[in-house]
């Protein structure tokens, strides 16, 4: 993917003028080669341990102690929004990522390479896990009713989170925990609001937005509403999830197949 982007860049530059074509062709192979061939020189166990220490001190507050994500994204999948090559990681950790809250680290390249080594160790563990029967997991996803509320690549309900790229953004452990105990982490977007309107009719739906004066929600028939708080009564916000727990209704094997299926999900067109 990196190569494709670079080649597209060369074409664009080429259209700008012959001189630039010459310069770009002269420079491009070096850049492509650098990105695809630069490898982390610090990958020993000692480097991973040192990288873990730096990570805990400077990165864990946003990315979680084990890279599971939090204020910042999950880093355990081995796939990164802003580039997944070793050099991408080195640059993004060193310089920060513009337009995000990610700051740069003022450390030597050697020390940043150690952080990269630690990050790679996180996804190495994840990569070893997919032993699940993804097809069986997909069957369970449908037969157990998940699809009624969750959408995958344009098919399914809209009441729960769209799971089209959940495998990229959530770790295996997170997915398993969410199936076993959905109440453990209920995002505000999925809190349930209820109230009575001026005609006495009850309303219920999933909270989408709220300010001091209005509330926006999706009702159980997936219709969008925006109402003034001054025009309703008995306004309540229920902070629990409507998703059932699969702790007792799925055996361990099926649970792992379902986790495996979810973990395999990527947006159409493949990951970046």
């Amino acid at each position: 993917m990196v190569k494709q982007i670079r080649l597209r860049g060369i074409v664009v530059i080429g259209l700008a003028g012959l001189t630039w074509v010459v310069l770009a062709l002269a420079a491009a192979p070096t850049q492509v080669e650098e990105i695809t061939t630069t490898r982390n020189p610090r990958t020993s166990f000692a480097d991973v341990a040192a990288g873990a220490k730096t990570f805990r001190s400077h990165c864990a507050s946003c990315h979680g102690v084990n890279g599971e994500g939090g204020r910042g994204p999950n880093l355990t999948s081995g796939v990164f929004f802003h580039g997944s090559s070793d050099l991408d990681l080195l640059n993004n950790i060193s310089d920060g990522i513009q337009g995000t809250e990610m700051p740069g680290l003022f450390y030597s390249p050697d020390r940043v390479w150690q952080v990269v080594a630690f990050l790679r160790s996180l996804s190495a563990g994840t990569a070893a896990k997919p032993t699940a029967d993804v097809a069986r997991g997909a069957e369970l996803f449908t037969s157990r009713g998940c699809r009624q509320c969750h959408r995958v690549n344009g098919e399914g309900g809209r009441l729960g989170p769209d799971l089209s790229d959940i495998g990229r953004t959530r770790s295996v452990e997170h997915l398993r925990a969410a199936l076993v105990d959905p109440q453990a982490d209920v995002r505000q977007r999925y809190w349930v609001v209820s109230f009575v309107d001026t005609s006495g009719k009850n309303h219920e739906g999933f909270l989408m937005n709220e300010d001091s004066y209005t509330v926006q929600f999706m009702d159980m028939n997936e219709r969008l509403h925006s109402v003034s708080k001054s025009a309703i009564k008995g306004y309540k916000v229920e902070k629990t999830s409507r998703m059932p727990s699969f702790k007792d209704s799925l055996n361990n094997s099926d649970l792992e197949q379902l986790v495996g299926y979810l973990s395999s999900l990527r947006p159409k067109g493949g990951a970046q």
């Binding site: 310089d95 680290l105 982490d185 300010d211 001091s212």
Partner: protein, 533 residues
């Protein structure tokens, strides 16, 4: 036809009578209250009341407020700027550290100073800027890469540009400077990067430094015993919000920020003077006259970076020079401005960390409130019960208006090592608890008792300051994007407008073409309002 001709002449004369860029002297800054058509300093006057004597917009007509103009900034960073208005020109910063001058009547740009930033500049909480200072024909701005720059007020050309500190060691400037006499008083940011804080004074003409007051004493100096080992070198105590000036005493009153590392105090056992304090400095020498520390040995990041409100009034039966201070730690304080003596302390928001304040104002801490590995829940949360955004004092109602957060935080302690330019914070607590985000309010306090008179409740926690006016109004804004006007006597909402972007700035008021204008930035734009027909 004759009537139109006469009207044209009147308009021309009116324009001629208010030439842009009249000389802005220090004497005018001293008497800012007598010049309500302009907004000449960050807080409107040296006493930092954020109060406008303009009274055209009132409780009776505020419903007619209409958009006057909008200026869209060329930035994607969070806007925290407070504009200044002098003689028909509005000046404001555009983050990270650009400056714009526009016609205060139309919003049309005169000039724009664009500051090119180094590739990597680390500021704890975004590359923000809170405003500029004006004197003579000069504009002064601090930059995120820790420079102080003087610009020509008519063209934006750079007159001088000096390095205040090295940005590569975590220093940055986000504060709006304050002009006093012929000096630019400028603070520093970097409390999350283990800097040693200071407050500086620079010559307005040359940019030469007149004095520097280190907010952390060096070994052997008074207060140094509150810092073990070398912890003073990396102890924080920055000065990132504009303070106040008391001309009678020749004192600057300024707040200092948190000690570093923020949430792990193991390496800095002691009171950590003069972090989280009000400091009073002689403006000519930069010498400390007195201090009052709100939070000794802070481990919650509760900076004393609120704007000190200076009021002369009776207190406990005799006239006194007072400071009103609603603090991030959820206590409201009254201090004596001549001595720093603690006079009153009372919570103005929910807090669970102190039993109260003792007779000297020192908090009586409750057990088990420090950050821990597993996390400790404490009210208020890490951003406090209020923060850097400005309070307002109205001499008409004699009330103090404060933007308030009702929230708790989960404070986690973590490993920390110092390395220059990198964060030095000792973990990060959760700013917003997913299942308990808290809420906000605008509250009116009786400043002599700390009692709450009214509140205007908000769904979310506001990052916008408040402005009170002689029209008996209080203007504020919310993260939801609404700007609103409240009745200053009872908090009832009179006017509200959705501006469609978060408001993390302070409102001001000025006069343009004979009409009162309210200005506030929202999203990445500057908005102004005046009465419609």
């Amino acid at each position: 036809m004759k009537r139109i001709w006469v009207a044209s002449v009147v308009i021309m004369l009116a324009c001629a009578a208010t030439p842009l860029h009249a000389q802005l002297t220090y004497e005018r800054l001293l008497k800012a209250e007598q010049d309500p058509g302009n907004w000449l300093t960050y807080s409107g006057n040296y006493r930092s009341w954020r109060y406008s004597p303009l009274n055209e917009v009132t409780r009776d007509n505020a419903r007619k407020l209409k958009l006057k103009w909008v200026y869209q900034m060329q930035t994607t960073h969070t806007v925290e700027t407070t504009p200044l208005v002098a003689d028909g020109v509005m000046y404001f910063t555009e983050p990270p550290s650009n400056v714009v001058a526009v016609d205060a009547a139309t919003g049309r740009q005169f000039w724009r100073y664009r500051r090119v930033m180094p590739k990597k500049v680390n500021a704890c909480c975004g590359q923000v800027n809170r405003g500029i200072a004006l004197l003579g024909d000069r504009v002064f701005v601090g930059t995120v890469d820790a420079h102080l720059v003087a610009l020509d007020a008519k063209t934006g050309a750079v007159l001088w540009d000096i390095e205040v500190a090295d940005y590569r060691t975590g220093h940055s400037i986000t504060v709006a400077p304050l002009i006093v006499k012929d000096m630019v008083i400028c603070g520093i940011s970097g409390g999350e990067y283990g800097i040693r804080g200071f407050l500086d004074a620079y010559d307005v003409a040359s940019g030469k430094r007149r004095w520097r007051y280190w907010t952390i004493p060096a070994p052997g100096e008074p207060g140094s015993q509150t810092w073990p080992g070398d912890s003073w070198k990396t102890g924080g105590a920055p000065t990132w919000v504009t303070g106040s000036f008391d001309p009678e005493q020749n004192l600057i009153i300024w707040g200092t920020g948190n000690p570093s590392p923020d949430w792990n105090g193991d390496s800095r056992k002691g009171d950590n003077l003069y972090s989280d304090s009000a400091i009073a400095l002689d403006v000519d020498t930069g010498k400390l006259k007195w201090y009052f520390q709100h939070v000794p040995h802070d481990v919650h990041d509760w900076d004393s970076v609120q704007v000190p409100v200076l009021v002369d009034d009776e207190f406990l039966g005799r006239p006194r020079k007072l400071i009103y201070w609603a603090h991030r730690n959820a206590f409201y304080y009254v201090l004596d401005r001549e001595t720093g003596q603690f006079l009153l302390g009372k919570p103005f928001a929910t807090q669970t960390w102190a039993k109260g304040l003792d007779e000297k104002g020192r908090p009586i801490r409750l057990p088990n409130i420090d950050p821990s590995l597993e996390g400790t829940y404490v009210w208020p949360g890490v951003q406090g019960a209020t923060n850097w955004f400005s309070p307002s004092y109205s001499p008409l109602t004699k009330l103090l208006y404060v933007s308030v957060w009702e929230n708790q935080g989960l404070y986690r302690k973590g490993e920390q090592e110092y390395s220059p330019g990198n964060r030095y914070i000792g973990s990060v607590p959760m700013i917003d608890l997913p299942d308990d985000p808290g809420h906000g309010a605008i509250r009116a306090l009786n400043p002599k008792t700390g009692d709450r008179l009214w509140e205007y409740k908000l769904q979310t926690k506001p990052w916008a300051g408040v402005l009170s006016t002689a029209g008996q109004l209080v203007f504020g804004g919310s993260d939801e994007g609404h700007v609103f006007a409240l009745d200053a006597t009872n908090g009832k909402e009179i006017w509200r407008q959705n501006l469609g972007g978060i408001i993390r700035t302070n409102p001001i008021s000025y006069q343009s073409q004979g009409k009162q204008v309210i200005a506030i930035a929202a999203g990445n734009s500057m908005f102004t309002f005046e009465l419609g027909d």
